[in-house]
């Protein structure tokens, strides 16, 4: 089983990965903007991931055998690929919307929100796209942040 290769299409880029690979690891093979951000997932730690929900992706085609799309967004770090699966990450409005929502929830009750926003955005950008990290300016937020400003900032980098 393990030497079997599965074809996965993520954001219209097709890649071949061994069976049992997660969507996130397949996307990391492609790299670039296609990689979903992941915060609670650590590849070397068995059973990690699935909790922070920043890595949600839309599966628009389940597999070659069962082409039905998955009704809900799935956590890419815990979903294994199937042969012929089609995944939408940055090409799906729904995913970007959900991800911005999740990021907002994560920032919500953080005590040092200003520092955290900068760090979180840089973490997300680093994991999602190496080249994008360069674009992130070292932002200094004012002490009191409006929800809109935080949201605008998040939306502009996800």
């Amino acid at each position: 089983m393990s030497d079997q290769l599965f074809k996965v299409t993520i954001d219209n880029i097709t890649v071949e990965v061994p069976a049992g690979t997660t969507i996130l690891m397949a996307a990391r093979q492609i790299g670039g903007d296609v990689t979903p951000p992941a915060m609670c997932f650590y590849s070397k730690l068995q059973g990690s991931g699935g909790k922070c929900r920043t890595c949600l992706v839309e599966v628009s085609k389940g597999s070659e055998k069962d082409p039905r799309p998955m009704p809900k967004l799935v956590a890419s770090c815990r979903t294994t690929v199937m042969d012929g699966m089609e995944v939408k990450n940055i090409t799906s409005e729904r995913v970007l919307d959900a991800r911005a929502g999740v990021t907002e929830f994560l920032l919500l009750n953080h005590p040092s929100i200003a520092r955290f926003v900068t760090r979180l955005v840089s973490v997300i950008c680093r994991t999602s796209a190496m080249n994008m990290a360069k674009k992130v300016p070292a932002m200094n937020f004012p002490a009191a942040l409006s929800r809109k400003k935080i949201l605008d900032h998040i939306y502009s980098y996800i």
Partner: protein, 450 residues
Amino acid sequence: MARKLLLEKAHVENIRYYDVYRREGGYRSVEKALKSMNPDEVTEEVKKSGLRGRGGAGFPTGMKWSFLAKPEGVPRYLVVNADESEPGTFKDRYLMEFIPHLLIEGMIVSSFALGANRSYIYIRGEYWWIVDILEQAIQEARNNGWLGKNIQGSGFDCDIFVQRGAGAYICGEETALIESLEGKRGNPRIKPPFPAVKGLWDSPTVVNNVETIAAVVPIINEGGEEYAKIGVGKSTGTKLISACGNLKKPGVYEIDMTISVEEFIFSDEYCGGIANGKRLKACIPGGSSVPILPANLLLKTAKGETRMMNYESLSDGGFATGSMMGSGGFIVLDEDQCVVKHTYTLARFYRHESCGQCSPCREGTGWMEKLLLRLENGQGKSSDIDLLWDIQRKIEGNTICPLGDAAAWPVAAAIRHFRDEFEWHVTNAAEAQTRNFGLAHYAEPLVVQS
């Protein structure tokens, strides 16, 4: 008079004890199943009956059973979900308290169908006195040869264990229940793998509601096709409804899903109308986590048809103008009740019961509670209502388990149908502290656009 299957004998004196239960025709289904049927036939009967899960989602039970993986040499388990913690739902308590042997009889037949030799009842910790009732019933069944090794000489072994929960709502979710049963913290697992493949102790497991398992008894006694004749369409059989709120006669009723909502609320056979001569304002038809409906949408669907008490009719119109059958917790609000306060109470419940595992639910439920408290206390802004809508939209569907959805739906429905009441709380903050918004147009007859 509606037909009763589950609660038919519930008020026979001492039906709680084995002797009376057996005399009234108990354990016939076990005799029938073990002696004249094989496990696949039992599953086939349940499939034919069209029985749907009574815990809330309404998934066909027979189909759920047939999904159970059956690898060689691996034990299979049946777990009965008696962790009934949904506000407004108390039908399983009634069933277990009055006729515990019905549940045990259903469990033996279901275990036989699934090939499970050890079955569990996971009961919520607050039902401490029911644990004793069940333990005693199991002991009686064991003494009379209905449990243990080689039941009634059929060669089938089955034993039932009662496990108490510690009072967490989230343990009613099937994977969290399995985690809790294994002795861990009740955090829902990420699916797949589904419990039917990898459940309790990594073995195939079926988790069913108490009422679902109890309904297996009349199905086997009368045959699946006979059972399917009761009710309408895909809503077959009878359903227990636990009615509460501002009603003349709150309580547990068994309905056959052919009556209308209006009849259920106002007829003397059932709830007997709204208490103290008030008028109906709103109702949650299926336990706290399903959308609330104003009176006009509750009695008639958006198309102008009479709304019936069954799965299809209650969910007619989707979430925009409909609701869900859910677990059957029928909560009625009269004209004196405040929807904002009511929604706040539910939001507080879900904030308290969120397991804190995944971000949207952990953070979002608390945020919604704070905003609703602010609105309720008269310090809200009109932007808070839009913010609430935004939050619930971002929670729904993005969480690991359905608790996030369950927390988002009541808030969404309250804003969708009662927005003017929320706005009134913002504009008339001082007045909102002393008097309620009242009925407004919620009880007016629905204008059907053709």
